[in-house]
Amino acid sequence: MAPATTAVPPAPPGTPFAIRMREVTVRYPNGVVALDRISLDIEAGEMVSVVGLSGSGKSSLIRTINALVPVTSGELEVGGHRIDGARGRELRAVRGQIGMIFQGFNLAKRTTVLNNVLVGRLSHAPWWRTMLGAYTAADRRLAFEALDRVEILPKAYQRAADLSGGQAQRVAIARALTQEPRLVLADEPVASLDPPTAHAVMGDLRRINQDLGITVLTNLHLLDLARRYGTRLIGLRAGRIVYDGDAASADDAVFEEIYGRSIGAQDVLEK
């Protein structure tokens, strides 16, 4: 690939990633426009909540950032690395520094928690070590530390199938942390969890942001969680940004604007 014209030089090692989007459009093969000319700047170290109805494009926004969803047109830079058009080794190197958390946890249920967390080292460890499953002591140390940070270290040798939903999501967070990420993306991380567990998982994400300084982007559909755990709130509707501002000061009127309807009990976690 030709050297990308970067507006920002690549972020120095260990520093969190900033995100820069210019006129980014995502159109799926079936013709649906998920993102419509989005321009957005996220500073390194921010904790951002992205809200919107299902189909508003918030999942596409998050997945575009690590190229799970390809950009159709426009420019996207993450930590000074050009993402639109990036492929192969170059893309994997950037992805290796971006942790991702999914609604469905996406763990390999039939293997141990530790093996799942070591997936975070795939792009960092030598190829032959990952194929043999012979990770270095340093890699395993990272995995154990990550498990300890989400307070689930005693479960390290259990099968992932035996975990509860909340525990599984914490293992997924530990997997992301084991990447030593500079950006963490969370796609509806608490949508399949009960309220206390949801708060615990959101608390973990906030600590990742505050203690480690990592940039965190979280998709949420529950307004109180978005308000409480984000410092910045981005509202999406029909693939466009309709709100971008301080999370704490976003009131119900703002959410009604984002959702295009009145706010009901189904939009908050706590009644």
């Binding site: 690590n66 799970l68 893309l91 994997r92 190197a93 950037v94 992805r95 290796g96 520094q97 971006i98 942790g99 991702m100 999914f102 469905g104 996406n106 763990l107 390999a108 249920k109 039939r110 293997t111 093996n115 070591l118 997936v119 975070g120 795939l122 792009s123 190829w127 990952t130 194929m131 499953g133 997924a172 997997r175 992301a176 990447q179 993306l185």
Partner: protein, 264 residues
Amino acid sequence: MTDLQIPAKPRGRWKPYAATLVIVAITAVTLSPQWGIAFGFDAISRNWQNGVGKILEMLSPDFSFFPRTVAPLLETLQMAVIATLVGSLLGLPLSMWAARPTNPNSVTRTLVRTALNIVRSVPDLLYAAVLVAMVGVGALPGILALVMFNLGTIVKLVSESIEANDTGLLEAGSAAGGTRAQINRALALPEVAPAFINQTLYVFELNVRASTVLGLVGAGGLGLLIDAVRTFYRYDQLSLIILEILILVLLLDKFSDVIRRRLV
């Protein structure tokens, strides 16, 4: 009570009738004198006495023949073990190449699938016959024939099991920056392992059974002995061999059952 709003009957209720009609038509054509296969039950009445003599002979197995069956029996077992090992080890990566979630590249996927469809469509006895001509009489052509046969079976069943599994978790590997091979190793392998071991055990059983037949075309194992005693009309010795195969297969069935139960 208010009037029930009964939904309209769904369309397409004629399908079972049409299917029945097609099956009846196919059966009729098969049995008809012009297009069908030619056979008559009168052949039974003409020949049944021949069979009864053989069966009576087989009812009294010649146990003194046992020492001579030991070596071929072990050879059959060894052929099955080696073929299962080689076939399953080659089959595992090929299964991942043949399944959509573990190989999104449609060109290589179609290539592997087509190749294995061809491999699977050739019967094992034909492989053995051709291989005996190519590499000579003995256990080697038998093993090679079984490997081909195993590849076809394992890749078909294991790749289908990969496609039936939840594949969202593979996305986690992509997001972490893994290569396709790394993702398949770290995430797809543990998920498919039980199905793979299951199919491997199944194929092992099939191999023991098949390797007794392969000897008929010169590909080693018990089959060579079967062919020899049959040529000399020693049905008492033949029945001992069949008895041995029966016991062996029952033992293997028990053995794989024990392993399977520990898998889940």
